[in-house]
């Protein structure tokens, strides 16, 4: 199977500048591409910094501003006290869950390595994340919030937010934003005239 296959039709930027994207979709994506203020509105500065690091690791995103955008999206949701419609009953309300778990993560770092999470080496940070995923963090600061469920919820939220950004969608070759005309050849490749057109297959 081919990895890192270039985009089938065009880059997201080319698509957005073309007539292939509807006005409604264009407006939403252009807005999302705007540089935004990433200062936290709900979390304190230390927790926000920690959350940004977690997002960077979970999403393997070395671009600090992209990871910070995801963290800022989470923070903005918490600031507005918005819900995605449900939560595990065993978990505290989302605001408390994030605030408690981020503090607990720092406490875990301090008790294991005598440093704040943010000051640890990448290896140690990753080791702690693996512990969190397995629910093996231990310590009484985790009594009020399940590390397993927190990891699951954080991973889901960060992933959903990350793949809502055009650069992430472009990386996986998603052309579904080209919605103005829809698609004609929708089956497997051998039955697709679209794919036989040199203009498309010869893109770099």
């Amino acid at each position: 199977m081919s990895h890192n296959k270039p985009h089938q039709l065009a880059t997201t930027r080319q698509l957005l500048d073309s007539a292939l994207v509807s006005t409604a979709t264009k407006a939403v994506l252009e807005d999302r591409l705007q540089e935004k203020q990433t200062a936290p509105a709900f979390l304190d500065a230390a927790s926000f910094r920690l959350l940004t690091i977690l997002c960077r690791h979970l999403l393997a995103e070395e671009d600090g501003t992209r990871a910070a955008r995801v963290a800022a999206d989470i923070d903005a949701r918490l600031a507005a006290n918005k819900s995605n419609g449900w939560r595990y009953q065993q978990m505290p309300a989302d605001r408390d869950a994030y605030a408690l778990a981020l503090k607990a993560m720092d406490e875990t770092a301090r008790s294991n390595y005598q440093h704040a999470f943010a000051d640890l080496s990448t290896d140690k940070q990753l080791a702690l994340l693996h512990q969190l995923q397995k629910g093996e963090t231990g310590g009484e600061y985790w009594n009020k919030v399940s590390p397993l469920k927190f990891f699951e919820e954080l991973l889901c939220e960060a992933t959903e937010l990350y793949y809502s950004y055009p650069y992430a969608l472009e990386e996986i070759g998603f052309a579904g934003i080209a919605d103005a005309q829809g698609w004609k050849e929708i089956g497997l490749p051998q039955e697709k005239e679209e794919d036989k057109q040199p203009a498309i297959t010869q893109l770099p």
Partner: protein, 521 residues
Amino acid sequence: MKTYANKEIVDAVVIGTGAGGSPLLAKLSAAGMKVVALEAGPYWNPAVDFASDEREQNKLYWPHERLSAGADPIIFGRNNSGTGVGGSTLHYTAYMPRPHPEDFMLYTEAGVSADWPLTYYDLERYYDELEWFLGISGPTPYPWGPARKRGYPLAALPLNAPAQLMEKGCRTLGIRTSPAANAALSAAYYQEPIGWRHACTNRGFCEAGCNNGAKASMDVTFIPLAVHHGAEIRPACFVTELEEDRSGRITAVAYLQNGKQQKQLCKWIFLCAGAIETPRLLLYNKMANSSNQVGRNFMAHTSLQLWGEFEEETHPYKGIPGGLISEDTLRPHGADFASGYLVQSIGVLPVTYASTLVRTTGLWGAALRERMQQYNHVAGINMHGDCLPQPGNFLALSDEQDDMGLPKPVVYFSNGDNEKRMAAHAKALMTRIWEAAGARHIWSNMRNAHTIGTCRMGTDPALSVVNSEGRSHDIPNLYICDNSIFPSALRVNPSLTIMALSLRTADLFLAHSKRLENASL
């Protein structure tokens, strides 16, 4: 649109405009009744308001927090609930299979779950009416189930890659498949007084809202019909209280409109808020619950999904996500469980796929990014199977308040042995289908889809909430019509049956109110 004053005693108030509320709303107004629909969500203009962007379209999902408990907590939000004029049909995939006659009689057949107080044949003419009114695309003849009076009005939609792959896998194994019946138009469709609706453009965003009216959601079908006949649709009206008089009839419906308390006087109430909000409202108002069955019998289909990556590019965002079906597993031979399931192909949008992937496999970091590179090679299949009611699966009010100031519902759900055995059977079969189709990296996620059964319909007032006509056993002018009244889960996607019940409820109600009128003359 016609409007009615709050103080005018209208003939009926319909609460909720989804699959259960909209058809009866249209039918009552066509019969000359003064009807007001109160809908908690907004009235969208899809051409302007709907973007091809999953995150933006989260606005179609019920935003008020629900608590999920039990061994298999139900994931709401994107999975199970909608809001807005049109309800959850705004984001349904629009698979529209009919149940089979035996699905309504599971107790008689296997001694489990419950028989319906009506049969397939009581709903048959409504299925037919709906298929032609909504403009369902599908194969004629349909390979499974009883012979039909006529076929589908439109040819089946073209198959996308996941549908073709499922066809290939099934063909190898000798399993019959067929293009599915889907409520998206394979050709432009004209309907008086609605006018023309566009053919589907294969944009693949059905679950995030169709922007051109090709998909038969209620806002482009029954709602315009109801408005044409004089119904008033009041969006952004969140119903909080039902007011009862001394005789035990409901006389008014109180609601919050943009934070302001309002009250509509009325003669009849049709509660169609879906299988979570309907019981929540009744429990909160301490009403219609002499049987103590409100909130009980919560069911959610056994709906395991199985995914794989293929050599070929699949572009799983192209075409309606719901393309191909097999009902050969209606009652699998030699099965160690009651009832059965169907199998359907599924396309998927990237955020939904990524979210399901990480929640199920726990993949993160470089491994996640790497795996997502294969998105354009992914295809899925899905089962929907029966779910048996159990005493431990129910909805109750929690002691937490939501952002509307109402107690949050808590929903307890655990799969029982029947669901687990059925899911294992389906997983084994679907794995073989996917292997035969050439899939690699197969993984599956057990999930439960559709929220069903919290205000069960039945003949015995001690064991059910509404009678076989959909009227409350306790409150003479209250009808309930949505997914909550199903006595058993049925083995198919629910919307066609919810709408059929809605049309039937309207007919039975009109006859009932005429009888009452004649008696009082």
